[in-house]
């Protein structure tokens, strides 16, 4: 139930159109179709981060176990237009300085 709302966002219409950067520790992971969802604790806030479906994540070079609890990630992407949701959609992810491009065509 935790992800019931976040898991339903498609497209980019609900985001602001501008990127933000989030660095934090993954506290929860739920990968799969129609797309994966992470919980990332950054300082005192917990953000919900939408990542790709299995195809997109694999294409970006992410392997099983890369997105896991306690892993530190830097994420660039677009936040929900309603900033109080603390919800964003990842365009690219860095783990240990290694870049994984989920949406290479987006800036």
């Amino acid at each position: 139930m935790l992800f019931s709302l976040a898991s339903a966002h498609h497209g980019w219409r609900w985001t602001t159109g501008d990127n933000i950067e989030l660095t934090g520790i993954i506290t929860d992971v739920k990968l799969g179709n129609p797309h994966g969802v992470l919980k990332v604790r950054a300082e005192q806030e917990v953000w919900t981060v939408e990542v790709g479906q299995p195809y997109r994540n694999a294409r970006a070079g992410l392997e099983e176990g890369d997105l896991a609890v306690d892993v530190e990630v830097k994420i660039e992407g677009e936040p929900s237009a309603d900033i109080t949701e603390k919800l964003m959609k990842a365009e690219r992810i860095w783990i240990d300085g290694q870049l994984y491009e989920l949406y290479p065509e987006r800036d």
């Binding site: 992800f3 019931s4 709302l5 339903a8 299995p54």
Partner: protein, 151 residues
């Protein structure tokens, strides 16, 4: 209820829907195709029942459109169950999803009532009401279904 949903999510079929690269996309496509068949057949049938194309025979038109609509409905149910398996608790927790399920039940009951009790040669008033109700309910299903991806 919750542990039923979790048990469903743990089945091999659910795992396949959740993690397959192209399986999910294929089932998704099948769902869209089935909905297209269903709505594509039901809209002209409903309009006919509501009084369009007066010179054409309703029973003959129903002979073409009803089997197409039923095929679409069965395909949509089968593919829909598989899509649901990808995240049973997520969908069961979505109000718009529950509204969609309710609308499907009502629309199906209306169709069964039309098919088995009123009949396509039935009273014009009853046919008009059944047709209008069908149009409203199935389009409601379509809208609610699409909204699942955006709420």
């Amino acid at each position: 209820m919750d542990h039923w949903l979790e048990a469903l999510a743990a089945t091999p079929l659910a795992e396949w829907m959740r993690y397959s690269r192209w399986g999910y996309a294929a089932i998704n496509t099948l769902h869209v195709f089935s909905v297209a068949l269903l709505v594509g057949a039901i809209v002209p049938l409903d309009l006919k029942l509501m009084g369009f194309w007066r010179r054409l025979n309703t029973e003959l038109i129903a002979q073409v459109l009803v089997p197409v609509a039923i095929t679409g409905l069965l395909g949509a149910i089968a593919s829909g169950v598989l899509l649901f398996l990808a995240g049973p608790a997520d969908y069961a927790g979505l109000k718009i999803f529950l509204i969609k399920m309710l609308l499907i039940v009502l629309a199906t009951l209306n169709a069964l009532n039309l098919h088995w009790r009123i009949g396509y040669a039935g009273r014009q008033g009853a046919l008009r009401v059944a047709g209008a109700l069908s149009l409203l309910l199935w389009l409601g299903v379509l809208v609610a279904g699409r909204m699942i991806a955006y709420v």
